[in-house]
């Protein structure tokens, strides 16, 4: 035990003496959290829209006005014909095009329905879906206002305001504040990347410098070594996590509906897994460069397959199965469940148990594989 304390003291001295590391731990995650949360939002604000108004009528003008008035769209182009529209979409000058065909008002008056067409650049699937939903909402409202329905139009056109009233409401995040949803996820990513890299790089660096040989000829046990390398970075990662959570609360106003101690308890277990993976990587790599490569490779898979960017439910079966052993997925789930939905122990018991098992497993692997001998 005393040996571990001496080794931990050494790690802390080295961390706090190195300005680059201090910067990496205390500044970078804060800056990234602020930047990424503001940037990585699915919320749409002032999306550039082109309106092709072939009708030029009072009704079409009213529609344009309502689109612009909602604050979610900005009319970047307003023109009577489709000339140049395709290139505007391709060049991303506009995200979507609303085409109001000739005879729109007349059709409404005579037949009580008329088509409009919404086209968008579907290269960005998630964003396109949200733009579509937002545009539909405006059209639907306007249709109700006019007391008419605007049924299906030409090929690729969107049906709007069918007699069936479609009203969506996001549960647990009723205001649709995507920051509440993204902050926990971004925080998990940042803590994982920094904690895992710090741990893995630390041992790789000692290998490169030759200082690890000097430790290896001492009677330190493998368990002591792994513990002494894990604990300092575990504490630092928890500090990063705490800072991030506070920023989330203060700056972004993320809710803390559930138990905060439960969040920290889960974070503690999760970090053992994340850092344990870092330790395990460093048991078989020889240089910092190799370590960085392997660590990034593993982290990319874990982060991208965590449900952070794409829902796990829409992944193929094998990927869903892989996600079950992905610690990031479970921790993101716990974070969102506890913070946003106010879930309690019962809800998070299973992912927590999986994380705990993973932690024990990866540490056992690291201790087993760590060799005091060089290859």
């Amino acid at each position: 035990m005393r040996t571990i304390l001496f080794l931990m003291r050494k790690e802390f001295l080295q961390v706090f003496r190195d300005k680059a590391t201090v910067f990496q731990i205390f500044f970078i995650p804060v800056a990234q959290l602020l930047i990424l949360t503001n940037a990585a939002t699915f919320d749409i604000k002032r999306t550039a829209l082109a309106v092709v108004d072939e009708d030029r009528s009072t009704v079409s003008a009213g529609l344009v006005q309502r689109l612009e008035g909602g604050g979610r769209f900005r009319i970047a182009r307003y023109q009577p014909t489709t000339a140049g529209i395709e290139s505007a979409l391709l060049d991303r000058e506009v995200t979507a095009v609303l085409r109001i065909p000739h005879g729109f008002e007349e059709g409404l008056v005579r037949e009580r329905h008329a088509p409009v067409q919404l086209q968008f650049n579907a290269e960005e699937g998630a964003a396109a879906g949200i733009v579509q939903a937002a545009a539909l909402a405006v059209l639907g409202d306007y249709a109700r206002e006019l007391g008419v329905t605007l049924p299906r139009g030409a090929a690729g056109a969107m049906a709007v305001g069918a007699p069936l009233e479609l009203r969506t409401q996001g549960w647990f995040n009723p205001s649709r504040n995507y920051k509440h949803y993204m902050v926990p996820a971004i925080l998990v990513s940042l803590t994982t990347i920094i904690g895992l890299l710090l741990t893995a790089q630390n041992i790789a660096r000692e290998k490169e410098l030759g200082t690890l040989d000097q430790l290896n000829v001492t009677p330190i046990t493998k368990g002591q070594f792994i513990t002494a390398k894990l604990l300092p970075f575990w504490i630092l990662s928890l500090v990063i996590f705490t800072m991030g959570l506070m920023i989330g609360k203060v700056v972004f106003g993320i809710p803390t509906r559930g138990s905060v101690p439960l969040v920290f308890f889960s974070a503690g277990i999760y970090l053992v897994v994340a850092l344990g993976i870092g330790l395990w990587i460093s048991t078989f790599t020889r240089t910092q460069q190799q370590t960085m490569f392997v660590a990034l490779f593993i982290m990319l898979i874990y982060l991208l397959m965590s449900g952070l960017f794409t829902p796990v439910e829409s992944m193929p079966r094998w990927a869903q199965w892989m996600a079950e052993v992905n610690p990031v997925k479970h921790f993101v789930f716990i974070m969102r469940a506890v913070l946003v939905k106010g879930a309690g122990w019962e809800t998070v018991a299973k992912p927590l148990a999986i994380l705990a098992a993973g932690g024990v497993g990866v540490l056992a692997l690291a201790v087993r594989q760590y060799s005091k001998q060089v290859q």
Partner: protein, 244 residues
């Protein structure tokens, strides 16, 4: 338990097709200063790394302080000190912090650490630099510090891998004085070097050529066996047959 400090029998290490150390057999008595000589790449460091448990032998066996280097590696580690060829204290820690760390690892009490720090720094005249980062002190002092730290837990055997590489002649001289002082306390010293003048200071020595021991004995015996006037001459004859 063997009374010998080091007892190697047919110790061999291969890296793929290359045999770095080829069945060396030798022993070192307790309290001896034993020199490991050889050209670069002759296998000195590899042999030493097997003895201190950093490298597993491909075949053969060895005991250090009476313990088998493979089966009882941990017991070996408790009884040895090691100073590697590459400086391996922490550059970004102070002199005192390095000493405290290794004192703590070897289970010394705080009082023991304080007392030994004082003695150690007094001996090498480094008291003034106690709170200095190791990276800021000159190489000669660094080497003496590394040697002293390797002795901190008073091991029975100390392994020095080219301790005088790159240091000036005065520091080299000082280093050998320290080696003698250490040996005088009963500590066994195994030292590798390629300075042949240093070899004259050893009680016994071996000269390694291509992974094998080509000559072994006291400096006098080795010179006698080759009918040479100096170890230099022996060394040249062994490493460059046909010359000299």
């Amino acid at each position: 338990m063997s009374a010998l400090a080091i007892d190697a029998r047919g110790l061999t290490r291969r890296f793929g097709d290359f045999t770095a150390v080829d069945a060396i057999t030798f022993h070192v008595a307790q309290g001896e200063v034993f020199g490991f000589l050889g050209a670069n790449g002759a296998g000195k460091t590899t042999a030493m790394r097997m003895l201190i448990g950093l490298l597993e032998p491909s075949s053969g066996s060895a005991t250090v302080a009476g313990y088998d280097v493979v089966r009882d590696a941990e017991a070996v580690r408790r009884n040895i000190g090691y100073m590697s060829q590459k400086f391996s204290l922490y550059d970004d820690l102070t002199v005192q912090e390095n000493i405290t760390l290794y004192g703590g690892i070897y289970g010394l009490t705080n009082a023991q650490i304080a007392e030994r720090t004082r003695k150690l720094l007094g001996r090498i005249g480094l008291e003034h630099a106690r709170k200095e980062l190791v990276r800021r002190i000159p190489l000669g002092w660094k080497q003496q510090l590394a040697f002293s730290v390797a002795l901190l837990h008073q091991p029975r055997i100390i392994f020095l891998d080219e301790p005088t590489g790159g240091v000036d002649p005065i520091t080299r001289r000082r280093f050998w004085e320290m080696i003698y002082e250490t040996a005088a306390t009963g500590t066994t010293v195994l030292v590798t070097t390629h300075y042949l003048d240093e070899a004259e200071y050893c009680d016994r020595l071996s000269i390694m050529v291509d992974g094998a021991i080509a000559a072994m004995g006291t400096p006098g015996e080795v010179k006698g066996a080759f009918g040479a006037a100096s170890l230099d001459e022996v060394f040249l004859r062994l490493t460059r047959p046909g010359a000299a």
